[in-house]
C-alpha cells in the first residue's frame, strides 16, 4: 500500500508528521488543540482564531524566524517550530500570572511613572516583556534577493469565484489579465480553468499604489509570494476581488482558545470540533453547522434563526437559542462553556461547550481598495464600511474596480462580471451612482448597546493582538478623545499584527455607542501599507525595480 510521503518537522521536543501541502497548524491540529502563543501584554492563553493568516493566535518561530503564522506556512521536512512569548511553554506560562495580578489591566498612558526613580525599572521590565518572538537568528547563508515583475492590462486581486468570473470575462473580451491570490493553487477551485490569464497563486498583495493625478504612471502593486520573493505588478486597471471574512464578537473571555471564526471552522484545518456552539442565525452559520454536523451542540443568534438553518439544525438535534446574547466564556484556559442571556428578558444560563464558532457577521475585505484611496460608505447590516461602487464595480479611483463581497454585503448581488469586464476595458468614464445603501434596521449596534449596559467589570479584550481593553476605549472617550482616529492613537486599538481587521470594525461600533453618534461620525482608519506583514527580504528585492521611478 502506498503511503503518502510525510514531511516530518520538529515541534518543541516532539516530531510531527505533516502531509504534503499541509500547513504547520493543520498538522499540529490533528493532535488536538495546539497551544502556540500567549497574548502580548497579559500573557493570556490564546489559540488559533481566524485560520486565514491575520490574527496573532498561531504565531510560532520557524527555523529561527519569529512571528510566523502556523496557519499559512506550509510544513516542510526538517522545519524546526517553536513556541514563543511564554515560559516554560505556551500551555503553562508563568508570565500568565500577569493576567491575574493585573485584573483591570495596566494604564500605560498614565501609569508606571511613579516613583520617578523606579521609571527606568518599569522600562526595563516593560521592554523585556514587549514583543512576540525573539529577534531572528543570524542567517547561515546570505538571503538571495529574488523578485519578479509583471506588466499587464488588468490586475485581478483575488481568485475566488467572483475574481475568476471577472478574469474570464476579461479574457473573453480579448485582454490578458494577471490574477493573484494569497492562497495556493490547490486552494483555488475556481481558478482551474482560466486559460488566457496569468495566475499567480500564493502571492499576497501588500500595497496598491494608485497612478499619479496625471495618470501617466500605472497602478503599482507590491506583493509577496510564499517563497518570500517580491512581486511587482504594473497595470492600467485593477479589479479588487478580495472577498469577505468573518468578524469577531466582543464578550468577556472572547479571546480565549476555542473561540474561532467560521473562516477557521470551514478551512482545511481539522480541530476537535466536538461540543461546538455556533454564533449566528444566517447563511454562514448554516454552512458551519452543515460542515461540522453532529459536533455542533447549539446555535445562538442575536435575532431570529433562519428557517433554512433551523431545518439543518433540527436534523442534527442541535439546540437553538434565538434572540440571545453571549455574555462571557467559561473556563480558565480553553473554553469550557458559555454564559448566555435571553435578549427578551429572563436570566442568564450556561451552556457547556469546547468550541465557539463565530459566524454572525461577514465583513468586506476591502482594505486594499481603501488604501488606494477608494471612497467609502457605511452599510448596515452588516455594519461596516464598503467602497462606493457603481453597477460595474467602478470605484472613486479611476481605473480601480471592486467586485463581489468586497464591494457589497454577501446578502446582495454584486456587480455582474461581464459588465465589470467591459467597464474595465472600456476605460474612461466617470464613476456612476453608488449603490444606495438602504437604511435597514441594524442588528449589531442594539446588541452591543445591551451588552455594554449589563456588563460587569473584567478584562474585555477589544484588540487581541495588542491586548487593548474595552475599559481603555471608554477612558479615551471619557477624556474627550473621540473618533476612531484618536481612539486608535490613544489606546493602540488596531495597531497590532492583524492591522485592525478584527478589532477596528468592533471598535467603531463600540465608539459609536460610547460617543452617542453615528458610526459615520466615528470615522474609519485606513490600514497603513503593507496590508499584511511583508518580509524585509521580499521588499528589499524590489529596490532596483522601483528605484527608477521618479519622485511622486
Amino acid at each position: 500500500m502506498a503511503v503518502a510521503p510525510s514531511r516530518r518537522f520538529r515541534f518543541g521536543r516532539s516530531e510531527v508528521d505533516a502531509r504534503p501541502g499541509e500547513t504547520i497548524l493543520a498538522a499540529l491540529a490533528r493532535r488536538g488543540w495546539p497551544s502556540l502563543t500567549r497574548s502580548i501584554r497579559y500573557h493570556r492563553p490564546r489559540g488559533p482564531f481566524c485560520g486565514v493568516g491575520h490574527c496573532t493566535g498561531c504565531l510560532v518561530r520557524v527555523n529561527g524566524v519569529p512571528n510566523v503564522r502556523a496557519c499559512r506556512r506550509e510544513a516542510r521536512a526538517g522545519d524546526i517550530v517553536r513556541t514563543e512569548n511564554s515560559w516554560p511553554s505556551a500551555r503553562v506560562d508563568l508570565l500568565g500570572s500577569l493576567d491575574f495580578l493585573l485584573p483591570h489591566g495596566v494604564d500605560t498612558v498614565h501609569g508606571l511613572r511613579r516613583p520617578s526613580w523606579a521609571a527606568p525599572l518599569y522600562q526595563r521590565i516593560g521592554r523585556r516583556l514587549a514583543g512576540f518572538g525573539r529577534v531572528p537568528d543570524p542567517p547561515t547563508a546570505p538571503t538571495p534577493a529574488r523578485s519578479r515583475t509583471v506588466t499587464a492590462d488588468v490586475t485581478v486581486v483575488g481568485a475566488g469565484r467572483t475574481g475568476c468570473e471577472v478574469a474570464e470575462a476579461i479574457v473573453r473580451a480579448g485582454a490578458r489579465p494577471v490574477v493573484l491570490d494569497r492562497r495556493g493553487a490547490e486552494d483555488l477551485p475556481d481558478a482551474g480553468a482560466l486559460p488566457g490569464a496569468e495566475l499567480l497563486p500564493g502571492t499576497t498583495a501588500s500595497f496598491l499604489n494608485p497612478p499619479g493625478a496625471d495618470r501617466r504612471t500605472p497602478f503599482t502593486l507590491l506583493a509577496v509570494d510564499t517563497d518570500a520573493r517580491g512581486v511587482l505588478v504594473r497595470s492600467r486597471s485593477v479589479v479588487v476581488a478580495t472577498g469577505a471574512y468573518d468578524g469577531a464578537l466582543l464578550f468577556e473571555g472572547g479571546d480565549r482558545p476555542g473561540v474561532v471564526t467560521a473562516d477557521l471552522a470551514l478551512s482545511k484545518v481539522t480541530l476537535p470540533w466536538k461540543e461546538t456552539v455556533v454564533v449566528g442565525g444566517g447563511a454562514r452559520a448554516k454552512e458551519v453547522v452543515s460542515r461540522l454536523g453532529h459536533d455542533v451542540r447549539a446555535v445562538v443568534a442575536f435575532g431570529e434563526i433562519s428557517p433554512e438553518l433551523a431545518d439543518v439544525a433540527a436534523g442534527l438535534g442541535v439546540l437553538l437559542y434565538p434572540r440571545s446574547r453571549v455574555v462571557r466564556s467559561l473556563g480558565h484556559g480553553h473554553v469550557r462553556g458559555l454564559e448566555l442571556a435571553r435578549r427578551d428578558g429572563g436570566g442568564a444560563f450556561r451552556l457547556r461547550c469546547r468550541t465557539v464558532v463565530l459566524a454572525h457577521r461577514r465583513l468586506p475585505n476591502s482594505q486594499l481598495a481603501f488604501q488606494a484611496g477608494a471612497r467609502r460608505h457605511w452599510v448596515d447590516p452588516p455594519g461596516a464600511y464598503y467602497p462606493e461602487v457603481d453597477d460595474s464595480g467602478r470605484s472613486s479611483v479611476p481605473g480601480m474596480f471592486v467586485v463581489g463581497s468586497a464591494a457589497v454585503p454577501t446578502s446582495r448581488a454584486g456587480p455582474r462580471a461581464d459588465r465589470t469586464a467591459s467597464a474595465v476595458l472600456g476605460g474612461g468614464g466617470s464613476p456612476g451612482p453608488s449603490d444606495p445603501s438602504a437604511a435597514w434596521p441594524s442588528e449589531i449596534i442594539p446588541y452591543y448597546r445591551e451588552l455594554l449596559r449589563e456588563r460587569r467589570r473584567g478584562k474585555w479584550v477589544v484588540c487581541p493582538c495588542e491586548d487593548v481593553l474595552l475599559d481603555e476605549l471608554e477612558a479615551a472617550v471619557r477624556r474627550g478623545y473621540r473618533g476612531i482616529e484618536l481612539g486608535m492613537r490613544y489606546t493602540g486599538v488596531g495597531t497590532g499584527l492583524c492591522q485592525g481587521r478584527y478589532c477596528l470594525p468592533e471598535a467603531i461600533l463600540l465608539l459609536s455607542i460610547l460617543e452617542g453618534r453615528s458610526p459615520g461620525e466615528v470615522g474609519y482608519v485606513t490600514q497603513r501599507p503593507p496590508l499584511e506583514p511583508a518580509p524585509l527580504a521580499a521588499l528589499a528585492a524590489l529596490e532596483g525595480e522601483l528605484a527608477s521611478e521618479g519622485a511622486a
Binding site: 521592554r127 524585509l536 525595480e545
Partner: protein, 388 residues
C-alpha cells in the same frame, strides 16, 4: 464668530507639540487669553507621525543647549503632566562609513564635549557591541551619547493638550487659518480663519509642515519648504537593540520602540509641497527594507508591519526659525524645525513664548532669527547634521 472670546492676547496656528508647548509656557507666564487653531485634529501632523527620537548631539552650541534642556523637560514630563512618555535613554549612535564622515562626527563630539556632554567616538568593535548582529564592513566607527533616547510622541501631545485646556487655553480643531488682517499701524489686528476672525495682536506660526504655506498666505515670503518623509515599523520582537542607530551616509535611522517594533526611516526624494498629501510610497518601502537589511542581515525574514509619512518643515540652512518677523509686528515664527520639532519643542517653545512677550531671547540670531533669510546678506544653505 465662533470663538470663545472677542479678543486674544495671542493666537497660535498649529496644535502640534510646538504650538501646545508655546501655549503652555504663555499660560504659565500668566497669559489666559490664548487660542490655538488647527486645520486637522490632534496628532494629525508631524507630532503624531515622527519617530520619537530625542538627541543632544549637534554641531552648534545653541542647538545643543536647546536639546539638553529638552531632554531635561522630557525626563520630568511624567511628573509635570501626568502622562508616561516611556522616554528611554538608550543612546544615539551615529555610524560613519568613511574616514571623512568619522572626522565630521569628531566635530560633533567636540561640540558636545564643549557643552559638557560625554559624547564618545566609538570604534568598530564597540559598534558591534552596541548593535547586535550588525553586518561587518558597514562602518568605520561612530559617535555615541548614552543619554539620548526615544519616546512615545502621543502621550506628550495628550499631556500637553490636557494641561493647556486645564489652564484655560482655547483649542479649536478643523479650523483653517488663511490670512491675517492688518491694523492701520501695520501690525496684526486679527487672524482670518475658516471659522471667522479671531482678534489678536499676535499670531504664532507653529503650523509645522504647513508653516511656509501659512506665512505666504499672510503675504510673507519665507524659504520654508515642506518635504515628505516616510517611516516604517516592523513586527514587534523582544528587545535586542538599545540605541537609536543613524547612518551618516544616507540618513538611515532605526530604533526599537518600547513595544518591540523596529521603527525607522530613510530619505527618498519626493516632490516638495503639501499638495500630494502624505501617502506611503513603494519606493520608500523597498529602499528602506534594503538599507535596513544591509545593516542587520538577520532581519531578512521579519515582516514590515506598517508605514506612514509626514512632512518636514525644511529651511535652507537646516536651522529652525524662532522669533518675530521683522516685516510684520506681532507675527512670531515657531517653525522650520526640519523634522526635529519634537526633540526641540520644550525648550524652543520657551523662546517662542518669550518672543511673544517681547522678552530677550538667548538664541544666536544667526541661527534662529527669521531676519537671516532677508536682505542681501541672506543666510546661505549649509551642510548640517540633519539626520535622525
Amino acid at each position: 464668530m465662533t470663538f470663545g472670546r472677542s479678543d486674544y492676547r495671542a493666537v497660535i496656528v498649529g496644535a502640534g507639540i510646538v504650538g501646545l508647548y508655546t501655549a503652555y509656557h504663555l499660560a504659565k507666564a500668566g497669559e489666559r487669553r490664548l487660542l490655538i487653531v488647527d486645520r486637522g485634529r490632534l496628532s494629525a501632523g508631524g507630532s503624531g507621525r515622527n519617530g520619537g527620537g530625542v538627541r543632544q548631539q549637534w554641531e552648534t552650541r545653541s542647538t545643543i543647549r536647546l536639546a539638553r534642556e529638552a531632554v531635561m523637560a522630557y525626563r520630568r514630563f511624567g511628573r509635570e503632566f501626568g502622562h508616561n512618555l516611556w522616554f528611554r535613554q538608550g543612546g544615539y549612535l551615529f555610524l560613519a562609513g568613511t574616514a571623512e564622515e568619522l572626522e565630521r562626527l569628531g566635530r560633533v563630539r567636540e561640540a558636545g564635549r564643549a557643552e559638557g556632554l560625554p559624547v564618545r567616538l566609538v570604534d568598530v568593535a564597540e559598534v558591534e557591541g552596541l548593535v547586535d548582529g550588525i553586518a561587518p564592513g558597514t562602518n568605520v566607527g561612530g559617535c555615541y551619547l548614552a543619554s539620548d533616547g526615544t519616546l512615545y510622541p502621543y502621550p506628550a501631545v495628550w499631556g500637553l493638550y490636557e494641561a493647556v485646556r486645564g489652564l484655560g487655553v482655547e483649542v479649536a480643531f478643523g479650523v483653517d487659518a488663511f490670512d491675517v488682517r492688518r491694523d492701520e499701524r501695520g501690525g496684526i489686528a486679527a487672524l482670518k480663519t475658516s471659522a471667522g476672525e479671531a482678534r489678536s495682536p499676535t499670531v504664532v506660526n507653529a503650523a509645522g509642515g504647513w508653516s511656509g504655506e501659512f506665512s505666504r498666505r499672510c503675504g510673507l515670503e519665507v524659504p520654508n519648504v515642506a518635504t515628505r518623509h516616510e517611516i516604517f515599523a516592523t513586527e514587534p520582537m523582544k528587545a535586542f537593540l538599545e540605541p537609536m542607530v543613524v547612518r551618516v551616509s544616507d540618513g538611515l535611522y532605526v530604533s526599537q520602540s518600547m513595544r518591540g517594533e523596529l521603527v525607522g526611516g530613510l530619505t527618498v526624494p519626493h516632490r516638495p509641497g503639501t499638495d500630494a498629501g502624505v501617502p506611503s510610497s513603494p519606493r520608500f518601502m523597498s529602499a528602506m527594507a534594503g538599507a535596513l537589511l544591509g545593516l542587520l542581515p538577520r532581519l531578512a525574514g521579519l515582516g514590515v508591519l506598517r508605514s506612514w509619512a509626514g512632512f518636514y518643515d525644511d529651511t535652507p540652512d537646516g536651522f529652525p526659525v524662532i522669533g518675530e518677523d521683522p516685516r510684520l509686528a506681532g507675527f512670531v515664527h515657531a517653525n522650520g524645525f526640519g523634522g526635529h520639532g519634537f526633540m526641540l519643542a520644550p525648550s524652543a517653545s520657551r523662546r517662542v513664548a518669550a518672543a511673544v512677550l517681547h522678552e530677550p531671547l538667548d538664541l544666536d540670531p544667526q541661527e534662529f532669527s527669521p531676519a537671516r533669510f532677508l536682505g542681501p546678506g541672506a543666510a546661505p544653505s549649509s551642510e548640517r547634521l540633519q539626520l535622525g
